[in-house]
C-alpha cells in the first residue's frame, strides 16, 4: 500500500528516538548531546526523545573511541536496537579515535565494528551540529525503510553477530560498564 508506506516513511523521519551510548569517551560529547535537549537548541522540536532502553530507540548515538572493554557492549547494544536503525558517531573519537590514535587500549574507529551512517566531527561538536547529524540520520533511516544497511564488517564483528540471537536482558551492559 503506497499510502501506508509514505505515512511510515514520514513518521520515521519525524519521530527519531535516540539511545546514547558511551564507549570510553571523555564525556565532553555526552554533555553536548544532553545540551542539545536544553531550551536553546531543543531537539524535541524534531520529535527527538532520549530513550532509556536500546529496544525503544531508532538511532544509536555513540561517543568515545572504542575501548577494548566497550567492544562487546557495542555489539550487544547494536543487536538490541531493532528494526530500521541508524548509527550516529558523535565527536571525532568514534570516527578516527582523534588524539588517542595508536593507543593500545583502543580497538579502532567505530566503523570497524558496526556500520555508521552519520559522522558528526568536533571535539566536542556543538549541540546544533549534533542535532543536524540526528536529523540527517532520521532522513537516512526513513529512506532505508526495512532494508538493513549494507555492511563491511570486520571478521570479528561477523563472528560476534553470528552468535545466537541476543534476546537476553540488558544486564550485560551493566556488567561491562561497571
Amino acid at each position: 500500500m503506497n499510502l501506508w508506506n509514505k505515512l511510515m516513511c514520514y513518521s520515521r523521519r519525524h519521530s527519531p528516538w535516540l539511545f546514547h551510548m558511551n564507549s570510553g569517551s571523555c564525556n565532553g560529547c555526552d554533555i553536548e548531546l544532553v545540551a542539545s535537549l536544553t531550551p536553546r537548541y531543543d531537539a524535541e522540536q524534531l520529535g527527538v526523545r532520549l530513550e532509556g532502553s536500546p529496544r525503544h530507540a531508532d538511532i544509536l548515538c555513540i561517543t568515545g573511541p572504542v575501548t577494548h572493554n566497550a567492544v562487546k557492549a557495542i555489539h550487544t547494544v547494536y543487536d538490541q536496537v531493532l528494526g530500521p536503525k541508524a548509527v550516529v558517531a558523535i565527536g571525532s573519537c568514534p570516527a578516527t579515535t582523534n588524539v588517542f590514535i595508536d593507543s593500545r587500549t583502543l580497538d579502532g574507529p567505530l566503523n570497524k565494528h558496526i556500520p555508521v551512517d552519520v559522522f558528526v566531527p568536533g571535539c566536542p561538536p556543538r549541540p546544533d551540529a549534533i542535532i543536524q547529524g540526528v536529523a540527517k540520520a532520521a532522513e537516512i533511516l526513513a529512506a532505508r525503510g526495512n532494508n538493513p544497511p549494507s555492511t563491511e564488517l570486520s571478521i570479528a564483528a561477523i563472528s560476534a553477530a553470528e552468535a545466537p540471537a541476543d534476546n537476553s536482558p540488558l544486564v550485560r551492559i551493566q556488567e561491562v560498564q561497571s
Binding site: P39, R40, Y41, D42, Q45, L46, S92, A95, T96, N98, V99, I101, P109, N111, V116, D117, V118, F119, V120, P121, G122, C123, P125, R126, D128, A129, I131, Q132, G133, A135, K136
Partner: protein, 151 residues
Amino acid sequence: MNILSMLWKNLWGGNRTMLFPARPTVSKGYRGLVKFDPELCSGCAICKFRCTARAIEFKAAKGEFTWSYDPGQCTFCGRCVEGCAEHALKEGHTEHALSQESAPPPIYLHSGELKHAYTVKRKTTVKPAVKPDASPAVGAPAPNPATGGTQ
C-alpha cells in the same frame, strides 16, 4: 511559589529556542577548522610535529611538498596555528600560512570524507652563492650563505 512565577514568565515570555535548521553564530575566539594558505607556507612542517591528533600530514618530495589535513581527526586545539605563527615571527615574516576559521566542521557520511590535501611547490629561499673576497687580510672569510646557513 517562585517556580510557578518562573513557569508563568516562561509561558508568556516566549521560547528561547533556535528553530531548526538555524544555528547560532560562534563567539569571537572560537577555534574551528584549520585553514591553510599555500602561498604563505614555507614547508617547515612544524605544524605536523605539533599536531596532537596527527590530523596534519606532511610529505616532502623533490621541489614540492604535500600538506594534508583531516578535520575528522582534528581536535581543534590550535597548536599548529601557534607553531606556524611562532616560526613565521622567528623568520621575520608577519603572515603565516595556518589560521583557524570560526566555522565548526560539517557533518559527513563516509569515513575520511573531509580530508583534503594541497601540493605546494617549494619556493627558493636560498640566496645564490657569492664568491668570497680575494684579499686574505680581511681576516676569517665571511661565512658563505650558500654553505653556512641551515636549511
